[in-house]
Symmetry: C3
Subunit: 365 residues, 3 copies
Amino acid sequence: MNRLRHVLTQITIKHGWVFIYEKGYQSTDTAVSSVFTKMKGVGYTNVDGEERVWDMVDYVFPEQGDSSFVVMTNYIITKGQKMGKCPELTEPRYLCNSDSDCERGIIERTGHGHMTGKCVGNTTKTCEVVAWCPVEDDHTIPDPALLMSAENYTLFIKNSVTFPAYGVKRSNLVEGIDNQYIKSCVYDPTTSPLCPIFRLGDLVQLSGFNFATIAKVGGAIGIVIDWTCNLDYDQSECKPVYTFHGLYGNPNETDMARASVGYNFRYAKHYMEDKQEKRTLLKVFGIRFDIIVRSVARKFDIIPTLTAIGSGVGIFGVATVVCDLILLYLLPKREFYNNMKFKVTETVEQEPLDEFSSEKYVSKE
Amino acid sequence: MNRLRHVLTQITIKHGWVFIYEKGYQSTDTAVSSVFTKMKGVGYTNVDGEERVWDMVDYVFPEQGDSSFVVMTNYIITKGQKMGKCPELTEPRYLCNSDSDCERGIIERTGHGHMTGKCVGNTTKTCEVVAWCPVEDDHTIPDPALLMSAENYTLFIKNSVTFPAYGVKRSNLVEGIDNQYIKSCVYDPTTSPLCPIFRLGDLVQLSGFNFATIAKVGGAIGIVIDWTCNLDYDQSECKPVYTFHGLYGNPNETDMARASVGYNFRYAKHYMEDKQEKRTLLKVFGIRFDIIVRSVARKFDIIPTLTAIGSGVGIFGVATVVCDLILLYLLPKREFYNNMKFKVTETVEQEPLDEFSSEKYVSKE
Amino acid sequence: MNRLRHVLTQITIKHGWVFIYEKGYQSTDTAVSSVFTKMKGVGYTNVDGEERVWDMVDYVFPEQGDSSFVVMTNYIITKGQKMGKCPELTEPRYLCNSDSDCERGIIERTGHGHMTGKCVGNTTKTCEVVAWCPVEDDHTIPDPALLMSAENYTLFIKNSVTFPAYGVKRSNLVEGIDNQYIKSCVYDPTTSPLCPIFRLGDLVQLSGFNFATIAKVGGAIGIVIDWTCNLDYDQSECKPVYTFHGLYGNPNETDMARASVGYNFRYAKHYMEDKQEKRTLLKVFGIRFDIIVRSVARKFDIIPTLTAIGSGVGIFGVATVVCDLILLYLLPKREFYNNMKFKVTETVEQEPLDEFSSEKYVSKE
């Protein structure tokens, strides 16, 4: 029995710890949150002697400072596309010998256009398509990435959270993070954990990626802003914690991700030339950032306190039940304990049994 | 009493079932998630002899592979708009007889521009506005939809989830979903429930919509990716389940939705012509897809186990209380049970009562 | 003891209230939700005699009716930028005396381009950069905001929620909100709390902002659509409640927000002129709207009912434990109660003690 009592004492202590540690005496609320992002930094490319800079307007998609966005790090450009008829790429699946190989109108799911039914070309013949011509050839990904300079871009995150249940409003620009500090700081997990400005190269590293790889083929990084606030303390104790999660991107991570590596999408700039609509097509490889706010605020509240105590006392009940079970059914002298615990009452209407009357008499007295 | 015992046994069994079935012995975590989408397929239109193809760059908004996006299925095009002065549409609310009907500067909430105060036109006179001229006339929606070929587009979804509390990272490209499989598979709820490539026509059908209708006026579909994972088993058992929810779109669904049918927005391509800014305005009708990740991972944990047991034992308590209430207050012989249960102690300081001393003596012995 | 009993009765009542008020007898589900937004209204500017109107295509970012979007209220325009070499702004940090002050290739984090290493200019010399030239000068923010007319724009919100667990689908266009009503209504918290059309000026005011200020520098507003539905009642009782939260924007709110006021981003329209790529750069100041759906539906369910009762009964247990503790350890006559409560059983194997046998005899009889 002593051993059992010891175990039960431990359970009780554990439950008390749950009560304290898991904050069983507090109510909780999640936040209404808004995230605004802004990239800074200029990229520079010199392809075939053509100097070009890339500012945030050029390399951030979408432009309006969303919580989910892509930073371009590499690209394949196809200039001067216009609507017309042209041969498909010289890939096995588009090759043909005669018109009969190109059934008119059938659009291959992965093709670039609408087949005209003609087989064209001089040496290597391919099916002709109605498409944005010339069709894009994206077989060779520039390596190293054209915009390796992206490593030095910085990301500024502005995050505001409101806990409606407690009327509390916080910003990641907490006390002490003023204009002066922001101008010079760069986030570092140990020395500047509250600086809202992040170097892209650091973000990639903190997510466990290699910059050269992710810059070439693209990838995705999750930035989690964790607001776990105990509002029984002062509001100024309620501060964000940033963590970084590599979501996909490294071609060498695991088998399952191998099916589809990187992150890319296509984007076009349209223009008019000689009264004709043209476009510059970019296949963009980039790093997708998803900024995810996880928030929970806690404050003392009588209701959850009572509920927690209630279920805690239930635990005490376990002691009684377990003791009883052991005493009454398992111990060698169980019959003896049975007799000690239960009084058998035989309710005969005619005449009350003697022992009961006596017992009754004693109790009542 | 037997009947009561039976009921209580049932409650106990039920509670045990809750414990097992509702996983009362496990802690839970939700995922940090990232969704990337990519459309494939080419649309083809032939309007008034003008052949044109539409690739993903043309028909997906926004372009960067977001978890929420629109696929254009129909459109009304207004070419060559430029800033200037022109008459409003010949609709009843814009009609006028003289300049006095067009009060200068007042902008009708639903008008196309800023009224100049003039009433212009030859036969049917309307108020003149400063606007992108000519103003768009969107009264006739092309029927059938111009891009019915959208039915054969495919959507590829890449979804990565990370459960930070357990350090588990999963992708919807689970074990066995490799490059080879992806190249040929198409999602089917029964035969290929894990293929991450969806045919647009299938998505529309699985959501309960009719393609011809939704393509014409637009609509919205929710794709829910459900990650309910029991991490006490092997990670590879943690697989996504896709479900599809028609959100709005069918004009004939219910009364309340009738107020605003379809899904459309406007979009412009700007260009310069003869040193003047011009734009091509498109009123886009399309299918909006919202990909929603719902995740919960569970794993054995001592804390919730104890809490669940605690409240479970509370249920046992119900038995005691209910039995007592019936015995002591409802049964005809309740007085008798009252005496059996309670011992009345009268604590008089002066002299201890005899019966108590005797009882005391007996107990102590 | 009476006082104690009183306290415990109160606790019991409180627990019952929790059970009823906090809906302890119901299961819950959150919704799959989709939000579609549409702005209406036309802005008008007359800068240096150049009349211009701004329709939704011009002032909403992104264009596709997302749940998070920005409405432009002010802007700084830089026309005709093209890739080239030009001097930096005449700001202290870009000033130079000779080429040696401009180290070639080093890109200042906040600069506009890639330094060529030359120091150029006539009177005030600055470093030369490869950039979109001329570089943007955004020192003077137009005051008052150029698009003050944004105050009269209207926002239409279409929100559909589906509770998968209960198979219930609702829209914010609830019963009675038909086409006729929508054409004329404007949201008002007291008179039209269900009208899904919001005047921008009202939204700003309801969020606690001043329109002139927020229009000039930009800001962010959270619109929370709260679906708290008790599905034990009729579905038509399940209606949305709109609340508005100023997230950031007012320069005078609190110290911490002062670090970064307003909301702005940059946006470019590209075009070709004389075979050269050019762009019109806009620094856009605007109001960012985040529409957040918070949903919880409840319905009677046997499982949570039992759990709630279980932990409730636990509360009763407190009474027993507390009474016992007081009786046995605190009261002066505690030894007496100890004897009354416990029977000491000494289990000696050799010979049963007499008093136990007798007790046993009595009980068994």
